[in-house]
Amino acid sequence: MTLNPFLVLASLLFSIGVYGVLVRRNAVLVLLSVELMLTAVNINLVAFGAHIQDTLASGQVFALFVLTVAAAEVGIGLAIVLLIFRNRSSANVDELDLMKW
């Protein structure tokens, strides 16, 4: 197998995630897009790890940490979304404009 296709695929996922982050209005969906980006990161890490035959498996370990942290982030994120939703019954991020100048 060749390395670059993995990287390009990762880049693609990342960019798609970026697009999602930019256009989605619902916070949950934004979070989903972020997950895409993180997946891209993981693909990179693992692919590189395999490519450089890292005996320390840093790549895979890194990926594991990313996964775990991502899970935690999702938890935090959903909590906040829930909080906001409770206070204004909407989870649309573009309605966050209380702090206009």
Partner: protein, 509 residues
């Protein structure tokens, strides 16, 4: 399993233990006694600072197990002077933040124990950050710093602003993490290592010129951008003022000092250790960020009518000042690097004290005046002279007016950049900084003007306002920071000493 160097890890252990203790206390204590959780946290932090001293002095005491630096886990976790100084700083920040919080949280019937727990957790992350010398540890530590911070920002659950602050902060945070990670993955892939030595070695390895490789450059820049968010440097600063304004004030204080400092620690170690070989990648970029942050931050601060928001932008500007010494690194020799590193660290130390103090004082002022709107500060000196004096003290310190500590921060910053006086870029940046220092004075003075020169607005009943009492811990915090600012103003060596101690790292520590 390598045997642990328990001595070296003692601070982390103590903090970890005490934050667990705090949460336990919170569980068992009745609501009115929950503040004890905070006390536990405070004690833990104080206790955690002792091993720092023993570690620092260990080398010179015979019968003690070895000196600095103490490298663990294949060099991915190192305790050296730099780490110790910054750990100390973070612990102090944590202490002050807790002091600020106690009264504040109590007064508003927030979830108390959890709050302290989260603060402690974030501090723990920062403490770990100071020692982490590989990408993975760095990343996890960073998440440990910011994860709790996201939650803390939204702690005033009833307040929509607070919710907003939390969500903005969170989304931007995870995004920057994503970018950071992607960058890290590329760096890892191109250098084949996650440890800083490994990366450095790879960049310096003969034959391959990684600095020429777009992938590597992309990685480095993404990493920088990720940190740019953490330290809220222009153009990655947008979230900061909104978040500060919305978050509970103690949290804002912590964010503007603790997590910002953590970001800087990461940046410092990455740039001077991992990317030491490719200074001409990050040098120019940080030059740009520094110039932008100073100018935009200051100019925008001019327009603020809410003091906290003003502090937010001022902290953006200060991030720029701290970045200034980085900017010239590309052009520097070993001594130069040492001075630049010294400059940034010392600035960070001074900044931490005066900005914490500033937030504390503003908290007190807002307590008296009833809001943090500039207009409501009018004539504060009439009915709360002490508080007004403190605000003035810290603000002028931030402005860098001698004999308040701020001058020394500015001074070392200028010094670091002018080390290469011949270099036009250096002189240019120095002049930008100088002009900005003057602009900054304008809005700091604006607040002082309101407090001292203007009259009390009608809607404020001076007597009643003057009568409002301040929480003792808050007063204590103000007192501590004020003393630090004054003493360090007359005897900057006190801070310069620590800054100086960290010098070594820049020379490939």
């Amino acid at each position: 399993m390598p045997s642990f160097d328990y001595h070296a890890l003692l601070p982390e252990f103590i903090i970890g233990a005490s934050l667990l203790a705090a949460i336990v206390v919170d569980l068992v204590m009745p609501p009115e006694r929950k503040y004890l959780a905070g006390v536990v946290g405070l004690l833990g932090l104080v206790a955690a600072s002792f091993p720092l001293l023993t570690l620092a002095t260990c080398g010179s005491i015979d019968g003690c197990d070895g000196g600095l630096p103490r490298s663990m886990f294949g060099g991915s976790y190192v305790v050296d002077e730099f780490a110790l100084v910054l750990k100390g700083l973070f612990i102090l920040t944590g202490v002050v933040t807790l002091l600020l919080s106690v009264g504040f949280i109590e007064s508003d019937r927030y979830y108390e124990g959890e709050f302290y727990f989260l603060v402690m957790a974030s501090v723990a992350g920062a403490v770990i950050m100071a020692s982490s010398r590989d990408l993975i540890t760095l990343f996890v530590a960073l998440e440990l710093v910011s994860g709790p911070a996201f939650l803390l920002a939204g702690w005033r659950k009833g307040d929509l602003r607070s919710n907003e602050a939390a969500l903005k902060f969170f989304l931007i945070g995870v995004l920057s993490s994503a970018i950071l990670l992607f960058g890290m993955s590329l760096v890892y892939g191109t250098t084949g290592s996650v440890t800083f030595e490994g990366i450095r070695a790879a960049t310096l390895a003969p034959g391959v010129a990684l600095a020429e490789e777009p992938v590597f450059v992309l990685g480095v820049i993404f990493v920088l951008v990720g940190f740019g968010f953490k330290i809220s440097a222009v153009p990655f600063h947008f979230w900061a003022p909104d978040t500060y304004q919305g978050a509970p004030l103690p949290v804002a204080a912590y964010l503007s000092v603790g997590s910002k400092a953590a970001g800087f620690v990461g940046l410092l170690t990455l740039c001077y250790l991992a990317f030491a070989g490719v200074r001409d990648i990050w040098g120019p970029i940080l030059w740009l960020l520094a110039a932008l942050s100073m100018t935009v931050g200051n100019l925008v601060a001019l327009r603020q009518t809410n003091v906290v928001r003003l502090l937010g932008y001022s902290s953006v500007a200060h991030a720029g000042f701290i970045l200034v010494p980085f900017a010239m690194a590309a052009a520097l020799d070993a001594d130069g690097l040492g001075d630049a590193f010294f400059g940034s660290v010392t600035y960070l130390l001074v900044y931490a004290f005066m900005n914490l103090g500033a937030f504390a004082a503003v908290m007190a002022a807002a307590e008296k005046a009833g809001s943090a709107e500039l207009d409501d500060f009018g004539g504060l000196s009439r009915y709360a002279p002490g508080v007004a004096a403190m605000v003035a003290l810290f603000f002028f310190s931030l402005a860098g007016i001698p004999p308040l500590a701020g001058w020394f921060a500015k001074f070392v910053m200028f010094r670091a950049v002018l080390i290469e006086s011949g270099n036009a870029w250096a002189v240019g940046l120095a002049i930008v900084a100088a002009v900005n220092a003057v602009i900054a004075l304008f809005y700091y003075a604006k607040v002082v003007k309101a407090m001292y020169f203007d009259g009390v607005p009608d809607r404020i009943d001076a007597d009643a306002a003057g009568a409002r009492s301040l929480a003792r811990p808050l007063v204590l915090a103000i007192g501590l920071t004020a003393a630090a600012v004054l003493v360090a103003g007359f005897f900057p060596q006190i801070l310069a000493f620590f800054g100086d101690a960290t010098r070594a790292i820049a020379l490939g520590g």
